[in-house]
Point group: C2
Chain length 280, copies 2
């Protein structure tokens, strides 16, 4: 017999999200991002999709109990270091996941509020959005909406008839109980992409990145997963956010266009830019 295998244990991170067969977004993006940052990914699937690099054709939500059972089996077997939530699919699924998370209050939770695909396809109905606000935001360590998502989440109250800007949206979202909000500027109409991290004291940090040409599939998933990986690796929130943005920007810069639609980030840019080490 050979010697015993390595006892080195990578941090384990659980993603709960939908499947994207293209590998651009969804659990597939999370798996690639987490693994490329030294974490072992667990993946709980909330919905299947039929899609190509051009758009989503169909969505098959998975029964909420089946989603919960996938997660419970893993959590009873393995200690995990962070949660990352993406598209959840239904208010029922949000509710069962919120119940599970309540049993693990000390594990960092990164919530990427997927309300529409990067190409605009709607992926969450009003009931799902309301459940996220009521049940998930109070348990969230860091929420990562783009400006459109921040606005939709911040305005989901019947009394609202005003037009809040991003800082006001962030203020309202922090008031729901989530600890940090990173509002990303990918959907804003600015020369640079400006991402701003808020907590209850206001702006924590703001970073600007050159806006890349072309359209990318899965940049939000990549960023949120990279933050989760960094938190699992022990970074504090500001460093986790800073480093994850850097990682994401590099993955986008190295992106490729395998089909007729959007570019896909290359989460292993550091491997493909250093040819040969795959064979080490």
């Amino acid at each position: 017999m050979a010697t015993a295998p390595s006892q080195l244990l990578p941090p384990v991170v659980m993603t709960i999200a939908a499947s994207d067969p293209t590998g651009g977004a969804g659990v597939q993006a999370d798996i690639l991002t987490l693994a490329s940052m030294g974490c072992h990914p667990l993946s709980v699937i909330t919905a299947l999709t039929i899609q190509d690099t051009g758009g989503v054709e169909d969505v098959l939500p998975i029964d909420a109990d089946w989603v919960a059972d996938q997660a419970r089996a893993l959590l009873e077997d393995m200690p995990i270091s962070a949660f990352k939530l993406g598209m959840l699919g239904s208010a029922e699924t949000v509710s069962v996941i919120a119940e599970i998370l309540a049993d693990y209050p000390d594990i960092p939770l990164v919530l990427d509020p997927v309300l529409a695909s990067g190409r605009g396809d709607a992926l969450a109905d009003d009931e799902t959005v309301s459940a996220m606000i009521e049940l998930l935001l109070p348990q969230t360590t860091i929420l990562t909406p783009n400006t459109l998502e921040a606005r939709r989440l911040a305005l989901d109250e019947e009394i609202d008839d005003d037009d809040p800007d991003a800082p006001e949206c962030a203020r309202r979202l922090v008031a729901t109980g989530c600890e940090f909000v990173l509002v990303t500027g990918t959907h804003a109409n600015t020369a640079q992409v400006i991402n701003t991290l808020y907590n209850d004291a206001g702006v924590v940090r703001s970073d600007a990145w050159d806006r890349l040409p072309g359209s990318y599939h899965g940049s939000g998933c990549t960023l949120a997963s990279a933050i989760a990986a960094n938190l699992a690796n022990g970074l504090d929130i500001a460093d986790a956010v800073r480093d994850a943005q850097d990682y994401t920007w590099q993955a986008l810069m190295a992106g490729f266009r395998p089909g007729m639609g959007q570019f896909i980030p290359d989460r292993f840019f550091w491997a493909r830019n250093n040819e040969g080490q795959e064979d080490a």
Copy 2:
């Protein structure tokens, strides 16, 4: 705006298999293996599972048409360099996949005939096995059964009442029309793991590896995906098999045990053994 992203396009490989939320086996194992070998993974999900590192608790097969539609959307958008098939779930799914594959006769097909999990849980009924033999083997470039799977596939004929050894099983399987058969020795009772590659001329090559202590989850998925990645990268079949075995053995050697059950291969051993390059 920044400069345009890299135009380097990795080979694209499609896996069609079940989800394993532990990340040990299934499409998750395929995604990690393919990406770690420089390919972009597309993943078509045939079934969901509830499982931990100790065993499979439940299986949810996905409707065959939904499986087919996931694959068709991708194939109409992107050129791919190899197919890898794992657990297919039902005879209907085998049938729709066989129809799709018939439209792509020139793309190498690696078929890992998942009939039971590495821990013995049954994952294919007799009807599914028969459909695989009749519809998939004739289209297969390389079949990767362990000794138990080779025997079950080779004996699936009502006239059989004998006890074929591995070479005879391989001979019969090649006779069904699959080009190469790699019979793996992981389930044999030998000091070394001996894997033997056959074609219609007999033994092509045979490789022996030290048997590792402990029980691994996903070694078969890893090996089959690594062969698919190597074929997509342009290696001939003998080199693809040789290199994939080396890769798999190293991934197992670097494996870790995140829960209370089996070890999980580390498909990024070359990254974690060279600390720091993740930050390059």
